[in-house]
Each structure stands twice: as C-alpha cells, then as structure tokens.
C-alpha cells in the first residue's frame, strides 16, 4: 500500500551499467571501471545486474578524449541509424555497438539506469547531471545521494536546454545519470577525486537496491542548476583566444556571478566584466575540453524542482 497519493510507479531497476572511459583521459572512471571489471563485488546489489563497461577503449589506450569525435555527443538518431560499418568514424561505430548492447535508446529493452563517469578540470566538486526535469526516479536518487554524503556536497546540473542539450552515451538508458567530479587534470588520477566518485556510486546503487526492495520515497524538493547559456572566450578575427578566465572567476564554479563582476582577463591584464542583467551561476569554468567547443563556462540558473513520491510498480 502506498503512503502517498500520486506516488509515481516505476519498474524495478534490474539492469544497471556503470560506464567509464567515455572520454579516454578522464581517469577516475577509467580506473574504477577497470577495477570493477576485475572484481565487481563492490558494485553488486541483490536483485540488480550491474555491468561495468569501458565505452571508448581506443581513446583509453591513447589516453585521449576521443579518436575521431566526441563519443559523448555521438548518440544522435542519425548516427545510431547510419549505415557504413567500418567506414564510419570510430565513435559512431562505438555508439551503435553501445546502443545494441545497452539500448536500443527509447525502447522498453533499454537498460534501466546508466551511470557515466566523468572528470573535469573545472572546480565543480561532485556534480550529478540530469537530462530531464521530469525524471522523478533520478530526482529521488539524486536526493538520496545528497543526503547520504552530507556534510559533503553534491550538486545537480540539469541540462534539458533544447539547443545546448547533447546526445550522451548514457542517454541510451531509461534513466541516464552523469557523474562529473573535478577538479582533475586530464590524464591524471587524484586519489581524493577517485574516492569521491566511488562513494557516490556506492550510494546510488544502495538507493536502487532499496527501491527494488519496495521502499517508498516521499515527495521532495530538489535544488538544481539549470543550464541556460554557453559563454565563449573573447576571440580575435582569426578565432584565437584573446583573454583568460579572470582570476576572480577561476575555480568559483556554482558561486553567484553578478552583473559587473570580473569575467575575463586579457593577456595584458585588462578586465572584461559580465554584462548580463541578472545574477547567474557559472559552472564548467575553464574546462580543458571545451576550448574547442567554444565554451569558457556555462551559465546556470538556480531552480527548485518537485519530485513526486516514487515506489516500485
């Protein structure tokens, strides 16, 4: 019997995957998944099949972000149905293979939950990435994780912006969860970052087990940071960067940026100020991989979402 009216029902989450190496130089996920592929005891939960998986093995071998194109942008409908086999870019081939193994995306056969492990050079701490504000299962899981790791913090980034949203590796699943932990340089393994990621996955799997065993999770509010805009570096006519993230903004992910605050510093020391009309919350500040994607940081706005009560069907 449900204690809550309008408790959303979800099927038990029986098939779960943990992805590492979507970007081959983001070392926490690569290391954790390799560890769990050797010995999966830590990630096993009763009634759940949890599969650790390296999504981009060639990029992992060369310790690069990708081989031909960013795997975490590759899961578009066009790519997933493209003919061409071996002639396709490596990551498109991988996307099709992953869609076969863990999808098909959008179908009832798709995996229930996929956790995709990432690192960032930005000072984002532990960040859970949500792709839909209506995914009450994920909202409840993220609330559970935040409570479980308190007083340590974990923020929720919501990206359902129609233009800025992208087709991620995890999007193959019914409930995709991105886990981004930083700051960590590409190609480097820092043990504090590694352990933080490990603890979050532990709590996430605990939640899934509790849910599957019939626990009902009451309605709750969830604070999220919703992606609203991408800001590029100032560039010259040839496209070369002409200013750096200002020292006052560097490492200040999630802190309010007010109109008039310093934003960039030119190479000869001049300050460029934020010209927007309201306070925003920047994140992904100075992420190495985003220089080529024309992104110095992402603007988010603080929102409060309401998650309905959930229990298993």
């Amino acid at each position: 019997m449900s204690f809550y009216s309008n408790s959303a029902r979800f099927n038990e989450a029986r098939r779960v995957a943990v992805f590492g190496g979507t970007h081959g130089n983001e070392m926490s996920g690569v290391t954790l998944v390799n560890l769990w592929m050797k010995n999966s005891a830590e990630i096993q939960r009763k009634g759940v099949e949890t599969k650790p998986f390296i999504t981009n093995p060639k990029a992992v071998d060369t310790c690069t972000r990708y081989v031909d194109m960013d795997l975490n942008r590759a899961f578009t409908p066009e790519n997933l149905s493209a003919p061409g086999g071996d002639d396709l870019p490596y990551e498109v081939q991988r996307a099709q293979e992953i869609n076969r193994m863990f999808g098909p995306k959008g179908s009832p056969e798709a995996y229930d939950v996929i956790f995709d492990l990432h690192n960032t050079t930005s000072n984002m701490g532990c960040t859970l990435i949500l792709e839909s504000s209506k995914d009450h299962f994920n909202l409840q899981m993220m609330t559970y994780i935040k409570k479980a790791i308190a007083p340590d913090t974990c923020l929720v980034l919501l990206n359902e912006h129609p233009l800025l949203k992208y087709s991620t590796t995890r999007s193959v699943a019914k409930h995709p969860v991105g886990l981004e932990v930083g700051p960590q340089p590409q190609g480097v393994l820092r043990s504090n970052i590694f352990e933080a990621m490990r603890v979050i996955i532990k709590h996430a799997l605990d939640f899934i087990q509790l849910f599957n065993e019939g626990m009902e999770f009451p309605p709750c509010t969830v604070e999220v940071f919703q992606v609203s805009e991408r800001i590029d570096y100032p560039r010259d006519a040839n496209g070369n960067i002409i200013a750096m993230v200002h020292p006052s903004l560097q490492d200040c992910d999630w802190e309010p940026l007010n109109p008039g605050d310093p934003m960039f510093q030119t190479f000869d020391g001049k300050t460029i100020h934020y010209q927007g009309s309201s306070t925003i919350y920047p994140t992904f500040i100075n992420e190495a991989a985003y220089y080529e994607k024309q992104q110095a940081f992402v603007i988010t706005r603080r929102e409060t979402l309401v998650a309905s009560a959930i229990r298993k069907a």
């Binding site: 700051p183 340089p185 190609g187 393994l189 820092r190 504090n192 560097q250 190479f267 992420e287 220089y291």
Partner: protein
C-alpha cells in the same frame, strides 16, 4: 667588492624564448603568441630605441593541435645522437622539427648557438615556478634565478638541476650556450589559468630585464642559492601483466612538491585503501608529483637532494676582455 672576485662572462647577444615545445602546455603557447604580436605592433619612433635584448621568440611546435606531441616527445630529441644521423620518410615529425630548431638556435655546442634559451613549460604538479637546468654552476642561470627571487617574492621559486652531461642532455634548452626550462604549475594540460600565465609573463620579463642589465655592465653580487639536484624517480606500482597502475599518489603526498619526504612517509594509496610508504634511507625532496605526462615515462614522482650553492659575483666582459677571449678561443680551435 674586490674586482678579482667578480667573474667576467661574455655578453648575452641573443636570447630565445620558446613556447609550445609541448603543445598542450598552454601558458607558453599563448605567451609567445602575445610577444610575437606585440613585436609586430611596435611602431618605430623618431629617436629609435635600440631593441633592449635581441630576442628570438619561437613557437617550437607550430603544427600542434593541443597534444603534447604528434609522434614523439620533442623535448627529448635534442641529444647529439638525435640531432645527427640519417633521416628517412619514417623519421618522426619531432626529430625533424628538433633539427630545424637546432639550425635556428644552435647548432648545439657551437660558437654560433644563441647565448640563452628559455623554454616555457607547464606541469600538472604543484611546483610553483621552477628553473630546470643541467648545471649547478651556470652562473648566468643562477643569477637570473636570484633576480626572480628578488622580483617575485610571492611566488614559490625553485632551482632544479639534472646532473646530465652535455652529450646526453636531451631538451631544447640545451641547444643554447646557457639555457633552462621555466616550468610553472599546477595547471592542467590544455588549460590556461590566468594566475599561472601572469606568473610566466612576469618571469620572462624579469629574465629579460636581468639580461639587459647584465649586458649594460651591472655587477651582480655573490650569494647562495638552494639547488635541488634530481637523485631518482619513483614509478607507480603496476600490475605485472597489464602494466596498468594499481595505486594513486597518496592524498598526503599529493600537491606536496618540495616538502621533505622522510623514510616511511606515505607515497601511494592502493585502490583497496592500503598505504605504500617510501622505503629509501635518505630524506629527499619530491617534485613532479603526479605529472600527467610522466605516467607513460614510468614516473610518479621525482626525488631531489637540496644543497646550497655559492654563486660568485659576475659582470659582463668588456670589449677588450671579449677580444682577448675570442683570440684565445680561436687559438684553442687551431690546436
């Protein structure tokens, strides 16, 4: 100061500042680009000022797309063996590029080589600003370091010495008569952090100011410098079959570059939580702790001994002294 205690050294007629030797170490890439831009934009005035220090600015790796290297590490291609020998269609790009740089700035070991090479680098390790050289008695480099110490008191500064012979020296800075790498961290590869960039910009400017002052005849007083001489490297523990690492730098060692590591001190934390400790007998100073590019070179950290080096007073040779020196050099060559 007694005149005969002042060493007289040849004028530094040409200085080269190189950036992008590793294409993803961005402070140097951007700084050299900006210096080249500034040079283009300088308009000549009526009473032309003489260029302060004849300066060559070199983007070592112009084709780079933000990787450390294309075929092989350019900064290991400057041994005498790599710089000579046959080339073929299969010769790695960086070996070819090293020879071009050797022609431009060298030839290494010859009378015609530039007087001073400053090669700009970044590291993911928490090393502050380091000058890295092959000599602990290159008084030019040591006086430049002393000058930086005076001018940049808020930046952690260290002088690192790799005891490698000229024959075996392998990096770009070994092409000049004097040379050093200016290594600044921590900065992730592929990122430019404004505080790191500005520190590098200031370091280069102070170096050039010192060279100008030296060439103008200033005398630089003697003094002591703490020199860190590399003793050994320590690799990560690895799986015997796959060679993948089985532990990470211990959280108590991470970011503790140049903090004395004593026997028994924590080195690594395995993925099952065990602490692996330093088994050496001698307390040493760790540096390059968790440098990204060194995983593939089998280096988790390097260890150095610290000692004080007495740097004598120096000044530039007068023209007379220079001529006498050249004559002596010429007759030595004849012999």
């Amino acid at each position: 100061m007694e005149e005969d205690k002042v060493l007289c050294l040849p004028r530094l007629s040409q200085v080269a500042v190189c950036g992008g030797t590793h294409g993803n170490e961005l402070s140097g890439v951007y700084l050299v680009r900006e210096l080249l831009k500034a040079k283009k934009n300088v308009t000549k005035q009526e009473d032309e000022e003489e260029e302060a220090v004849p300066l060559l600015m070199v983007l070592s790796h112009p084709l780079q797309q933000c990787f450390r290297y294309i075929d092989t590490d350019l900064n290991r291609c400057f041994t005498h063996a790599s710089l000579s020998g046959p080339m073929s269609g299969m010769t790695p790009y960086e070996i070819i590029r090293a020879r071009q740089l050797n022609t431009m700035l060298g030839p290494k070991g010859s009378h015609g080589a530039v007087d001073l090479v400053c090669d700009l680098h970044n590291t993911t390790a928490n090393m502050g600003l380091c000058l890295i050289t092959y000599s602990d008695c290159d008084w030019i480099c040591l006086h430049i370091f002393r000058h930086l110490q005076k001018q940049m008191p808020d930046i952690p500064l260290r002088y690192i010495h790799f005891d490698v012979s000229n024959k075996e020296s392998y990096s770009l800075d070994s092409v000049g008569k004097h040379g050093f790498a200016m290594e600044i961290g921590p900065q992730p590869h592929g990122v430019v952090r404004s505080n790191i960039y500005m520190a590098m910009k200031a370091g280069v400017q102070h170096m050039l100011d010192w060279v100008q002052s030296f060439n103008s005849g200033s005398t630089f007083e003697e003094g002591f410098v703490d020199v860190f001489t590399m003793v050994k490297h320590i690799d990560y523990p690895r799986d015997s079959e796959t060679r993948t690492i089985t532990a990470a730098i211990h959280p108590q060692l991470q970011d503790q570059d140049f903090c004395l590591l004593r026997p028994g001190g924590p080195l690594f934390q395995t993925f099952s939580g065990e602490t692996l400790r330093y088994k050496g007998d001698e307390p040493l100073y760790p540096f390059f702790i968790n440098e990204c590019a060194y995983y593939e070179k089998g280096i988790a950290l390097s260890l150095a001994r610290k000692r004080q080096v007495m740097v004598p007073a120096i000044r530039v040779q007068t023209e007379q002294e220079q001529q006498a020196n050249n004559q002596r050099f010429a007759s030595e060559e004849e012999e």
